[in-house]
Chain length 156, copies 2
């Protein structure tokens, strides 16, 4: 069909708005379910889990600023979450000799062990919660979102 409009930038605003609302509701629904299970089964929270996950990928540790940039949250936010993780013995925060303004945050052995346990359950939950999305749709959606994200990386 030749629905191609004269202005290539037709861009159906209403349809995009609908997409955004559905996307937001879907992620809020999944997030709520994850939060509930993390609390009930592991007595932890999503933000804590997110920090542990970021640190797990970085055995050498991460700076506070890298952490907040990676997690898409504010600096001050990470300060509080890391404070709690330190007091739970899951991570350490060490001032660096090279630049004493910065501190390197690392998983402890206990933090690493706890993350591995939670992550295994988490992956299963996602599989369950997204179980109605076919493998094909999963790949297709994932591809669309990948390119979407990359268009925004520069802004953060």
């Amino acid at each position: 069909m030749v629905s191609a409009p004269l202005s290539a930038i037709s861009k159906d605003g209403k349809e995009r708005l609908r997409l955004w609302i559905r996307m937001l509701r879907a992620s809020r629904t999944i997030e709520a379910e994850l939060r509930e299970r993390l609390r009930r089964e592991f007595d932890t929270t999503l933000p804590r889990f997110d920090v542990l996950a970021a640190l797990y990928r970085a055995p050498e540790g991460m700076l506070m600023s890298s952490l907040s940039r990676f997690l898409l949250v504010s600096n001050g936010n990470v300060t509080g979450i890391v404070d709690r993780l330190v007091s739970e013995g899951l991570v350490t925060r060490a001032r660096r000799n090279g630049d004493r303004r910065t501190s390197m945050v690392k998983l402890t052995d206990s933090g690493k062990a706890q993350f591995e346990a939670v992550a295994a359950a988490h992956e299963g939950w996602i599989g369950e919660l997204l179980g109605d999305v076919s493998d094909e749709d999963t790949r297709r959606l994932s591809g669309m979102l990948k390119s979407f994200r990359s268009n925004w990386e520069g802004r953060e």
Copy 2:
């Protein structure tokens, strides 16, 4: 547990996990940008806007419980947000004669006017932020998310 698990379908867990992470990052990125613009240009917040949007679709008003169910947030949460909207003169909260436990929340004229102004800008922003998603992908994604959502409606 549920009925017998059908192992006929492979269900790639890793790929679903990747999809979830991308979906979460995409919605967080968009949400952050919306929050920033709402604050800068209209001196308001996303939760307040969400409440106004829900009420706008319901000229006769909404109960607190319908509001929290619709917005996928807790009861106590809505109480606080509506408190602020009332003090800003954007909504009213009236106890009902029929059932004195409930209260009907309605937009004021001022609230309606403010919502219309913000909503117009909001729709434009979404069009801009999702501008790199083609019309075809928009419809496809939207369709996938619609069916996804409906599989979860029962749980809320």
